[in-house]
């Protein structure tokens, strides 16, 4: 649950009130209870796992990285609990190793190709773009199938046609609108991802309309625009002031100050936008009548992102485990599930026993491609 990017949503409008289920009249409805996600991982504990697995990965020339990935995922899943029951990550290392080899080969080819032939790089990028919607579905299926809670696995129901529409075809109107449709496309994509998830018989549903992605993006765009505009004005003013009466070019530091200020503003806006989109997505997601509630704060997220970046840089990367744990802790502390039941009555999908699940695992392509 650390990689909630799949589900990432942020702030914006307060969540609509949860729908009232139609209970049989004679049954007293159970009260709505808020169940909080807990994360019990610790930085020092995860550091030991991270550094040992990294060293083994190095000594094995990368082969061990698949085992390291499984141990890392299991650590974060196993420390994330809902109603006192931890999540489980069940994937095996070998399919992950295969996926990683493919991803590394593709990525290296892409970067190197760019140095020699723009045409070759474009060709590779096009190939990946054409395959991306398919890869995305495979990746979501993989992650869902190997994520489990209370002895039941999640599922992602593949719909390749819809995936190609939302992650490929929609780029045409996006380009034609000069990016103005971006929030709407983003909303359609999140909707696709959420709507196709299942937990046993329980269906995930995305309740937000894609248009609800506009407010956070419009705010973010306006702030960035205002920031750059103001920065450019100050920049021009500063240059005029400093070089008044001389013909020499402006000093170098003022250009750097301008660039740094623009990037800092960008960083700030991105943190707030990430919080807003994550809140929007979670707060618009229901699973079998149960609602998520996400209360991420942009300022707090910004502080975590910024201080994590500084910690990682000054420690030459050694504090990465603390950074990851802090972020997971904050995300879990802001997330809860509103439910009226005790989660005991969820069944596995009709006719879908363990064997049926295993049959979906079609050999070669049951790999986790980390693009």
């Amino acid at each position: 649950m650390t990689e909630s990017d799949d589900f990432s949503l942020p702030l914006a409008a307060p969540p609509p009130p949860p729908p009232v289920p139609h209970w049989p009249a004679r049954v007293q409805p159970m009260p709505l209870v808020e169940h909080e996600f807990e994360f019990s991982g610790r930085g020092d504990e995860y550091f030991r796992i991270w550094i040992v697995n990294l060293a083994l990965t190095i000594l094995s020339l990368g082969i061990f990285s698949a085992w390291a990935k499984v141990r890392t995922e299991r650590y974060f899943y196993g420390n994330t609990k809902l109603v006192g029951v931890p999540f489980e990550y069940l994937a095996k290392p070998l399919p992950i190793l295969l996926g990683r080899i493919i991803a590394v080969v593709l990525f290296s080819a892409y970067v190197l190709a760019g140095q020699f032939s723009i045409g070759l790089q474009l060709g590779l990028a096009l190939l990946v773009a054409v395959l991306a919607p398919w890869l995305l579905v495979r990746g979501l299926m993989f992650r869902a199938r190997y994520s489990s809670w209370r002895g039941l696995s999640f599922r992602f129901v593949p719909d390749y046609g819809e995936s190609y529409i939302r992650f490929f075809v929609l780029f045409l109107p996006l380009l034609a609108s000069f990016g103005l449709l971006y929030p709407w496309v983003k909303g359609k994509q999140k909707e696709f991802i959420v709507d196709h998830h299942r937990y046993g018989t329980q269906v995930f549903r995305f309740l937000a309309r894609p248009g609800q992605f506009y407010p956070p993006y419009l705010i973010a765009w306006s702030v960035i625009f205002a920031w750059m505009f103001g920065g450019a004005m100050l920049f021009g003013f500063g240059v005029a002031l400093l070089s008044a009466g001389s013909t020499s070019p402006p000093p170098q530091w003022i250009i750097w100050a301008f660039v740094v200020a623009i990037y800092a503003g960008y960083f700030v806006v991105l943190a707030f936008l990430a919080a807003a989109i994550a809140n929007l997505v979670y707060n618009s997601t229901e699973v079998g009548g149960r609602r998520f509630q996400s209360r991420l704060k942009g300022g707090r997220l910004l502080w975590i992102y910024a201080s994590n970046t500084v910690l990682i840089l000054v420690s030459a990367g050694l504090l990465i485990p603390w950074a990851m744990v802090r972020l997971a802790q904050y995300r879990a502390s802001c997330l809860s599930l509103l439910a009226r039941d005790d989660f005991n009555g969820i069944e596995v999908r009709q006719g879908q026993g363990i064997d049926a699940i295993a049959a979906e695992v079609d050999g070669l392509f049951d790999i986790d491609i980390g693009l």
Binding site: T2, E3, E45, F47, R48, I49, I51, V52, N53, L54, A55, L56, I58, L59, W67, R71, T72, R74, Y75, G78, N79, V85, P86, E88, F107, V111, L112, Q115, F116, S117, I118, W149, R150, G151, L152, G200, S248, P251, Q252, W253, F267, A274, Y305, N308, T309, I312, L313, A316, G317, I320, M324, L327, N344, G345, I346, E347, V348, G353, I354, G370
Partner: protein, 400 residues
């Protein structure tokens, strides 16, 4: 017999059953709870590897599973399961193994960036067909012309062909230098500068040509750029940067939300390191080439001083655009060139006219007006045979 408390899930529903688990006769696991009575042979069970404090899972053959807090008994029940991850788990809990891992990671990082990346890049550069480098150079030139404000040169033809002759003389009988070419560009935005593009193209800006006082300073700059060309520095630098970005991105990918800064800063620092290495190589090449062509390497120092004076005229320190900003540590480079110049003067006393401090009036009596100036040098060299050592008059002061 100790029994452990566990939560049992049948794999068909999300219902939690509290059960007690214990080992029966060393071959069977017994589960007992409200409505649950199962005795399972150990060989049909699979257990999840131990990891930190997280709960362990025992999978039953029919998809049911047991979730229980970590306990030493569990690994005793399944002594042969997950040997690899059991060993990894022991390492993770062992202080010495953790310390050794830190050493391994830090050392490998250093080795990777200081030797691994250069080695890999240089191997690839040596393998690449020449056309690749040429194509790359054409792309870079096209982009420079389009985006960096390079305009056609405004030097007159006579001046250009004079400089082209000097360039040809410099690269004469350099192996593989037949296709190296010199291009002139007017670059107001870049200022006095010279660039070595992949594949043999050297660019010199009009601003640099008009800045220098003597064409032998241009020789020095061109020799330096030819040094970059002869050792394929542009291509090798490109490959190194690509590797650094790939490696840094692989690590940053694990820290999903860390910003691009985490990738950009190390890339930037390492590029500085790699390019300093290439600059010293090109400098050494230039000093050698100048001496071989009968031009005092001290002209290199002279060119550096001219550029330095230009920069300080601009009222700025080292970070101004232009030649010096991509060629840092000017002081040391000037000293190196001066030293080579002194050596040249001793080895070739007959070429004394090629020295920058050649004074036609004092040394050859060719005086334009009556005043003769005394040479003053604050540096003293002691030479034994061909070995010269520079003596700094106030070295003792500087040491403090």
């Amino acid at each position: 017999m100790t029994s452990l408390a566990a939560r049992y899930f049948d794999g068909q529903s999300s219902r939690v059953h509290d059960v007690a688990v214990e080992l029966l006769d060393n071959r069977t696991l017994r589960l007992r709870g409200a409505g649950i009575e199962r005795d399972e042979p150990l060989e049909h069970l699979r257990v999840s590897p131990r990891l930190a404090r997280i709960a362990r899972t025992i999978e039953l053959a029919d998809g049911a599973r047991l979730l229980l807090d970590d306990h030493p008994l569990i690994d005793q029940w399944f002594p042969l399961h997950n040997p690899l991850q059991r060993w990894v788990d022991r390492l993770e809990r062992h202080a010495h193994a953790v310390a050794a891992s830190i050493v391994v990671c830090v050392l490998s990082g250093a080795v990777l960036f200081y030797w691994g990346v250069p080695w890999m890049s240089d191997r690839i550069a040596a393998q690449l067909p020449e056309q690749v480098e040429t194509r790359l150079g054409e792309e870079v030139l096209a982009q420079l012309d389009r985006f960096a404000g390079l305009a056609p040169s405004s030097l007159d033809m006579e001046r250009q062909s004079g400089l082209l002759e000097r360039f040809a003389a410099l690269k004469a009988d350099m192996p593989g230098a037949e296709n190296h070419r010199l291009l002139f560009r007017n670059a107001a935005g870049i200022g006095p500068n010279a660039l070595a593009l992949p594949g043999g193209t050297v660019i010199i800006t009009d601003q640099l040509v008009s800045l220098v006082n003597d064409d032998r300073e241009i020789d020095a700059v061109l020799a330096h750029e030819l040094g970059h060309q002869q050792q394929h520095h542009a291509l090798r630098q490109t490959l190194r940067s690509s590797f650094v970005i790939v490696i840094a991105a692989m690590f940053a990918g694990d820290v999903s939300s860390a910003s691009a800064v985490v990738v950009a800063v190390p890339t930037f620092l390492l590029q500085g390191h790699y390019s300093r290495e290439f600059e010293s190589e090109a400098d050494a090449f230039a000093l050698r080439t100048l001496a071989e062509r009968g031009i005092s390497p001290a002209w290199f120092a002279q060119a550096m001083r001219t550029l330095e004076a230009f920069v300080s005229d601009q009222g700025e320190s080292d970070d101004s655009p232009g030649y010096l900003s991509s060629h840092p540590q000017t002081r040391e480079r000037i000293d190196e060139a001066e030293f080579a110049g002194e050596k040249f003067a001793i080895e070739h006393p007959e070429l004394y006219r090629e020295r920058p401090d050649y004074d036609a009036c004092a040394e050859d009596g060719i005086c334009e007006d009556a005043e003769s100036e005394e040479m003053d040098s604050d540096e003293v060299y002691e030479c034994v045979d061909d070995d010269c050592e520079r003596v700094e008059p106030d070295a003792s002061l500087e040491l403090q």
